[in-house]
Amino acid sequence: MSGSVYYCGRPVAELSGRESAAAIGYVMQNPEQQIVTDKVWHELAFGLENLGTPRDVIARRIAETASWLGIGELYDRSAAELSGGQKQLVNLAAVLVMQPELLILDEPTAQLDPIAASGFMNAVGRLNREHGMTILMVEHRLEEAVPMCSRLMVMDGGRLIYSGEPGSVIRQLGSRPEIMCGMPAAARLSAVLGSDTDNAPVPLTVREGRELVGRYRNDVKKLPDNGYSYQIPDTPALEMKDVYFRYSRSSPDVLRGVGLSVGVGEIFCILGGNGSGKTTTLMAAAGLIKPYSGVIRVFGRKLKEYKNQSLYRNCLAMLPQDVQTVFLRNTVREELDDAGIKPEELPFDLTGLLDMHPYDLSGGEQQLAALAKVLAQKPGILLLDEPTKGLDAAAKLRISGVIRDLKKSGMTVIAVTHDVEFAAGLADRCALFFAGEAVFSGTPHEFFPENSFYTTAAVRITRGQFTGAVTVDEAAELCRINGLKAAGNGGGA
């Protein structure tokens, strides 16, 4: 390793432990593992205790920081009972009490659901806008981060390839689709439309995207129907009827009459907020929890009829949210041997990773390695819990491709996800869960254009102008068909 790192003109190595701890705040990716103590108040005090700060000063700093971030009501709680988003805000507060000058954030929202991620990004944005704090953030969830930042740096293969004001960097990224695919939807739309908009500033937010779409005519509102309509397969792979579940006798129902039917060979995405019962439904389908009422059938047979763990042999397999719980061995090769599958039998390529420790892989690679292990069971139904959590846009596209290949080989895939864009691009059908039941299900084109909040950025950008444009490509297609408004006529809403 060579080179040098300076903080405020001084080499970092020369800073005392006290200076670097107080002046440079660091928040990492995993909300759970950064927390040191068991109670929120103690976690907030931890850094200042280390510096030997007197009790009264600690009390005051905690009070003002917690009030500013709006986490005052968490003060007395156990860290264990917080949601992921709350944990991450506590981690941020635990750093802010030390009054840092520089905040370093390492993918702070990768493990959070979209609502919690928004909340966190909001807090970070306020720190920068209202307090002028310097923030260095590594992130690949970019829809909100890019419009907020004053400088965007793009790294590839250990080198800094672009650096500058977000709009100009995005313009240069046109030739790098694998990086461009992670940029905000408005920017991607503008890039796809390309030459039409070269002189205008690059739109970054949905609002700016709407202005861009507003410059196009809307004589053709809908993409031409190709005469194809989706048919739900006749044979069901998984059926759930009136499924009720609660964790203990006195606790409230988590599942309140879930009913859904997924056909053989479908890709079915379950969407919904935290606590809506998505993951619990998946666990019930996998036989990991026992509903107190209702029927679950897998390939026409009730779950109870699968004796002696036979459900998990050549029938059904589940990939959990935390893929680290999947690995048992020291290398990927041993994992695959253990599971009884050869690398060349896989529908994707793991050859470069075979001799690495599973924990040392990137998020996307871990997901693929874990998927390989699960596929060794040759399941007919594959259950995925948040398969895109913590992945960058390119890795998400790769996972989507793999899942499509699996579908071609006849597999039924049921995925629980927060990721609206991922579901829109992949699913045959989507279901929205709320308060323990499936509220609606339909194809992405029935589902997303009807929603005004829980929907893709492309739908939000084209609302009122076009209908049925779920992805950026569809929105761009519609813009091209319609063409720009005549000059002088533009800008009208």
């Binding site: 005392s16 432990g17 006290r18 670097s20 701890a21 107080a22 705040g25 660091y26 990492m28 995993n30 759970e32 593992q33 950064q34 927390i35 040191v36 103590t37 068991d38 109670k39 108040w41 103690h42 931890f46 850094g47 200042l48 205790e49 280390n50 510096l51 030997g52 700060t53 007197p54 009790r55 600690i58 009390a59 860290a79 264990a80 635990a94 750093v95 030390m98 666990m283 996998a286 036989g287 990991l288 004796k307 002696n308 763990q309 998990y312 059904l316 397999a317 589940m318 959990p320 935390d322 680290q324 719980t325 999947v326 690995f327 048992l328 924990y359 292990k373 699960v374 069971q377 259950l383």
Partner: protein, 309 residues
Amino acid sequence: MEGRRVRSFSEYDPAVTAVYFAAVMGLAMFSNSPAITLLSLCGALLYFFSLNGTSGGRFHLFAFLLFIILAAVNPLVSHNGTTVLLVVNDRPITLEALIYGLCSSVLITGTLYWLRCFTQIMTTDKLLRVTGFLSPKLSLVLSMAVRFVPLFGRQWQKINNAQRAMGLYREDNAIDGARGSLRVFSVLVTWALENGITTADSMEARGCGVSRRTSFHKFRLRHGDYILLAAELILFAGAASAAAAGAFDFSCYPSVTMAERDWRTYTGAAAYGLLVLLPVIIDMEARIRWSLLKPTGLALSIPERKNMP
């Protein structure tokens, strides 16, 4: 009385509470006098009832069985003493051994009830406050341990579920179950080590070890805490000095002997009796004052409700 905060015994500063339990249990354990242990048991029972009301039946059953067993076992195994009551299997059952057994039963069940009350009112926050007095480092280690143990349990469940749904368990039988559990445990250890590295980074980034730690806590010693502490210490000193002067001396073997009762015995017993009753008295006072306060509170809350849309 105006201006003093109404609080129950459990709401006093944890240090005051900890000193109290140490004094009550310590004295009962070091003086083996039946008078003291009996007072300790009565006080513990009263406070337990005042905390739990009529619930806690299981614990009572457990304590009762323990009491009977302990009292019964001693005369069966110890044959010292001069007064033989009956002979079983050529072995004498003596009155002295019976009394000794009863005394230790009273002591142990009393201590058990005190400990139960202690764990009920000393939450982890309060324990940390007390250990923080002794050493801020110890307090941190405890806090981390308190967090880590349930975390470990939850991760076990997660890994077990993940592995089950991937076909780790081949059959529904005990051998296969044990084999699977062993592998789950090995994943858990790997995870814990990995998790530890992140936690260590997070601690280092926040300056762990750069200087002497202070110990933050949410408590503030108030006037009332000092008064209670003083009362505890005075009563303890009264009872302990009597015990030290031999006023409660008691021995079972070879025959039951008791110290002469003089003024020390009575004042010592009175001091200890008052000491064990302190929590109940304080809680009772708080309860009465709350019930006197209630009407005003209600009157205030009614117009507020009406204003709500």
